[in-house]
């Protein structure tokens, strides 16, 4: 490689394009620095610095929405900055911001170190933002691993809790397996695309566009198909799709509530951003639609059924929301499948993700307040009488769950509607029936939760052999009340008037 080539390559490194990620990284380092510099009694402000940094990043993203880099590749094709990338950046920053809020409720009760938590959170967020914009399998794998390793730490964050440690261990084992599958798939693709005997062979096989060209030239290569399926399997682990959902209930239950929320929303969103880049219209695997569509269809149907049916019997709300999240992954997969044929479907998937974000964090916000000392034991019984004792939390919970269940006039309904419409246009009839069945089943357990909070009254256990008392609820601070109220209102507003968000997502 000549000096000239290196100079040209360096000219392509548009550092301004990844300013938000750089900022988050710097703030993460700043947090550690502050912990050393600041006197102990001022350590309380460090989480606020993290939240302020996230807010600043969000503001910066909004101001530079259509920056110079949008619509082009940078870093020699490692990254591609598109509208969907911008959207997912906002998605991850918003998620991290809400996780900060949940952490303010949950962490103090467990006397867990707070600075490191926020440090890891910011790094993981930055990694996910890069992941959503990756245009190259090397970038994809590195960003994915950076995010996942951070999540390993966060899941096992409550070192004193065996449930948290167990969850951490399970997550590491399962995550390593999935990374292995993914890597194996990538290597197969790289190997077969570099085979000089095949038409259209390329040395840049890890670049999405190059790979897409190679796959189009070899539409039925066995090794390439194997690679495609393995990559999909690796991603299916991340989104918790059947049959790779096995880790979900235990890990969701054991992880600290803010981390559960982060896993449920941001991690799932990251998985879908990758899937859209691979299987969507013009994606890397576009030429293998004959393979990816049936594989994803089977996965989606099984995911929808398994997630909903398994959630029916749960009494622990963290397991319940984990399994319901599995069914949401199934619904989103429906959108991904449709997106191969219907341009509208991509917008529908992003709309669904944002509606899911608002609803999920509303529910997790309530969960964080209701949870007691033992973060992993959050039973439906603990919600008895919630609406009477704390109408705000009750209302937020009802709206959040209603939106997750897809009840009009809430945002979740619009999300489901757009997905259903686009799936219809793509002709995925059988899957639609499964999805409708899933919605009906899901009503049962969401409604059961609402019932626990609204219709049941709490009777303290008394006498011999009485069960453990209900955990003490955390008081709702004005900031938390404001944010939770805003999330609930956002769900209603998007449901009644989906126009602006829909337009942003180019739902046309």
């Amino acid at each position: 490689m000549t000096l000239e080539a290196l100079r040209l390559a360096a000219a392509d490194n548009l550092w301004g394009a990844i300013m938000p990620e750089l900022m988050l990284g710097c703030i993460a380092l700043l947090l550690l620095g502050l912990e050393i510099v600041l006197p102990r009694r001022l350590h309380g402000v460090i989480p606020d610095v993290a939240a302020a940094g996230l807010l600043g990043t969000l503001l910066g993203l909004a101001l530079n929405w259509s920056s110079v880099a949008v619509g082009r590749e940078t870093f020699n094709g490692l990254l591609f900055h598109g509208t969907s990338g911008q959207l997912m950046r906002v998605f991850f920053v918003l998620s991290a911001l809400f996780v900060c809020l949940l952490a303010r409720v949950t962490l103090p009760r467990h006397t867990a170190p707070r600075v490191e938590f926020h440090h890891i959170l910011l790094v993981v967020t930055a990694a996910m933002m890069l992941l959503a914009q990756s245009n190259h399998f090397v970038m994809l794998f590195v960003a994915l691993e950076a995010a996942t390793i951070g999540l390993y730490l966060l899941v096992g964050y409550f070192r004193g809790s065996t449930a948290s440690l167990e969850a951490g261990l399970k997550f590491v084992v399962m995550g390593a397996l999935s990374s292995g599958l993914l890597l194996f798939g990538i290597v197969l693709l790289y190997g077969v695309a570099g085979n000089p005997a095949l038409p259209g062979h390329t040395t840049q096989a890890l670049h999405f566009a190059e790979l897409s060209r190679f796959l189009a030239a070899n539409p039925d290569n066995f090794v390439a198909s194997l690679g495609v399926v393995l990559v999909l399997a690796g991603v299916a682990f991340k989104i918790g799709a059947f049959p790779f959902q096995i880790w979900v209930p235990d890990v969701y239950q054991g992880a600290p509530t803010p981390v559960t929320a982060f896993l449920a929303v941001a991690s799932k969103g990251a998985g879908f951003a990758v899937l859209m880049a691979l299987c969507g219209q013009g994606g890397a695997f576009a030429a293998y639609g004959w393979l990816t569509t049936p594989v994803l269809t089977a996965i989606a149907a099984a995911t929808l059924l398994f997630g909903n049916i398994a959630a029916l019997t749960q009494h622990n709300v963290k397991r319940l929301i984990g399994l319901s999240g599995v069914s949401h992954a199934g619904f989103l997969l429906l959108g991904v499948i449709a997106s191969a044929q219907t341009p509208m479907a991509a917008g529908a998937v992003y709309f669904y993700l944002f509606a899911y974000l608002a609803a999920s964090f509303a529910v997790f916000g309530v969960m964080a307040h209701v949870a007691g000392q033992d973060d992993s034991e959050q039973e439906l019984d603990h919600y008895h009488g919630l609406a009477k004792e704390n109408p705000l939390l009750g209302a937020v919970l009802a709206i959040g769950l209603g939106s997750l269940a897809g009840i009009p006039p809430l945002a979740g309904f619009m999300g489901k509607l757009f997905i259903l419409v686009s799936a219809f246009q793509a002709g995925a009839r059988a899957l639609l029936a499964v999805a409708a069945l899933g919605v009906v089943i899901s009503i049962y357990y969401y409604f059961g939760w609402i019932k626990a909070a609204f219709f049941e009254t709490w009777t303290p256990p008394s006498g011999e052999g009485a069960g453990p008392a209900r955990p003490e609820r955390s008081p709702v601070t004005p900031v938390a009340a404001f944010v939770l109220g805003a999330l609930a209102l956002a769900s209603i507003a998007i449901g009644f008037y989906p126009g602006p968000l829909g337009e942003l997502l180019t739902l046309r």
């Binding site: 009840i407 309904f413 509607l417 029936a433 409708a436 126009g499 829909g502 046309r508």
Partner: protein
């Protein structure tokens, strides 16, 4: 100024705005006062459009047509409001029943009255929206908006078995709603018109009708989903249970108005857009309705020992007539169904309200434990007997015209089914009159004496009389003067969907 005045939008927004104000923490005294406004405005708007309807020049069949963008024009979704001849009578009925149910709720002294009123207002807003929507997505949207409060109200304020009833209702009705939604989306996707706007869909499908097989599937899907919502036998089991448990105002609104959504959608959407589908399914629908809803449920109703359950079953039975009219499909039949929906909405709401009034005086719904209530409560007795007559379909009440038109249309369709259906009138006379005589006449039972010794049963208070009289007045008004509605209905009816279907073949 006149351009800004949209009675339909006001009728929808006013109750919702009041609900929002109550939800934001208005004090109780003001909440109650504002609730009168929230229920009154839809009634006023309903009467306004009834009065001015004939003077309007309809645009493609719809008067008061307005369109509001929701930012999804690209998808063919916009809030389009308007009334045609099918929608007008139901819109008016929704206003009247909503007003009566609201008045009754305000005086009911329910626990946590503020939230109760708030949910009822949300329901009222949704109901007005259902019948004012020209966009079929919003039709569904408003239906669900009105449906959700039902589940909560049954679960929180319901009577016996409320938890089970709320759960069962939720699952059945969600299933029905999901299937109907799929049907509507399928219609949207298959029509190729890329719009949910009913007017545009009609025009598009009139020029490019769907293939017969597609029509068949779509009509089947819609009839199944909407059938669950309207309690078509054998998918009706949620209805008596749910109405038995529901608080009275909620039962009035749901059984009276909201349940008509299914029939209304069949008439507005399925009949004109899918004539071949209708022709294919009509006979199955007719037999299900006559054997299942009219006869089987009719006999089950006779066997009921619980007043509220009995009214619930009778409402399921009367839905059978509505399905028969739709199956017959001719202009007379469908017109009859519309009149009957209005009449049934008024009369069943009246019955549910009076049943609760009876319960306040007897402390029971069990028919065997009542008796002799006519002496202490003559006005209640008179009203209940009148409501029973209306429900049986005696001339002079609105129900008579609806059932008569349905039977006339049905005779042309199938004399055998007509004969079976007419015998249902006898069944409803048996259970209706028997219930009235059990409750009001004959000697007082031991239990009644025991209840009376604790607190002598009083006659209806004025706060209870007013809603009942409003409903009864509407029933009699339409009963004696059906022409107040029929000129509006007639032009909106399809010449004959069956004829259109055979022509398209």
């Amino acid at each position: 100024m006149a351009a800004l005045f949209d009675p339909l939008l006001i009728a929808i927004v006013a109750p919702l705005a009041v609900a929002l104000a109550i939800g934001c923490g208005l004090p109780k005294r003001w909440s109650v006062r504002l609730a009168y406004v929230g229920f009154g405005i839809p009634l006023l708007m309903a009467l306004h459009v009834w009065w001015h309807y004939s003077a309007q020049t309809p645009v493609s069949g719809y008067a008061f047509l307005r369109q509001y963008s929701t930012g999804l024009d690209g998808l063919g979704v916009s809030l389009k409001l308007g009334l045609n001849g099918v929608a007008l009578p139901l819109f008016v009925m929704a206003g009247i029943v909503g007003f009566a149910a609201g008045l009754y709720a305000i005086q009911s002294q329910a626990e946590r009255l503020k939230i109760y009123l708030m949910l009822l207002l949300v329901m009222q807003g949704g109901l007005m929206g259902v019948f004012a929507s020209v966009d079929i997505l919003f039709l569904y949207f408003f239906h669900e908006l009105a449906l959700i409060p039902t589940f909560i109200m049954v679960g929180v304020w319901g009577g016996r078995d409320r938890g089970y009833a709320a759960m069962k209702m939720t699952i059945y009705l969600t299933l029905g709603a999901m299937i109907s939604l799929l049907g509507l989306i399928a219609l949207y996707a298959r029509s190729g018109a890329n719009t949910f706007d009913l007017i545009a869909l009609r025009e598009h499908l009139a020029r490019f009708p769907l293939a017969e097989a597609v029509q068949r599937d779509l009509f089947g899907l819609l009839a199944l989903g909407l059938g669950v919502l309207v309690s078509l036998w054998p998918l009706h089991t949620w209805a008596p249970l749910g109405y038995g448990a529901a608080p009275s105002s909620n039962a009035m609104l749901h059984a009276g108005v909201l349940k008509k959504f299914g029939l209304y959608t069949l008439i507005q959407v399925a009949l004109p857009l899918l004539p071949a589908g209708h022709a294919h399914w009509a006979s199955a629908l007719a037999w299900l309705a006559v054997i299942g809803n009219v006869l089987i449920v009719g006999f089950v109703t006779i066997a009921q020992r619980d007043l509220k359950q009995m009214i619930g079953y009778s409402s399921v039975m009367h839905m059978g007539y509505a399905f028969l009219g739709i199956a017959a499909g001719s202009a007379v039949g469908v017109g009859g169904v519309i009149l009957m929906m209005v009449a049934h909405g008024l009369s069943v709401a009246l019955l549910f309200q009076l049943a609760t009034c009876i319960h306040h005086r007897t402390q029971t719904f069990a028919l065997d434990e009542m008796g002799g209530l006519a002496r202490p409560a003559p006005v209640l007795a008179a009203l209940f007997v009148a409501a029973t007559f209306a429900s049986i379909g005696l001339p002079g009440f609105a129900n008579f015209w609806g059932e008569l038109a349905i039977f006339v249309a049905l005779w042309k369709y199938s004399p055998l089914i007509t004969a079976l259906a007419v015998s249902g009138v006898v069944i409803s006379a048996v259970y209706g009159l028997r219930a009235a005589s059990r409750v009001f006449f004959g000697p007082a039972t031991e239990r009644m004496n025991e209840v009376a010794s604790r607190q002598a049963p009083s006659d209806l208070r004025w706060s209870e009389r007013v809603p009942a009289l409003v409903l009864l007045a509407a029933l009699l008004f339409i009963g004696f003067w059906p022409r107040s509605l029929s000129p509006a209905i007639n032009p909106a009816l399809p010449a004959s969907p069956v004829a259109a279907a055979s022509a398209s073949r």
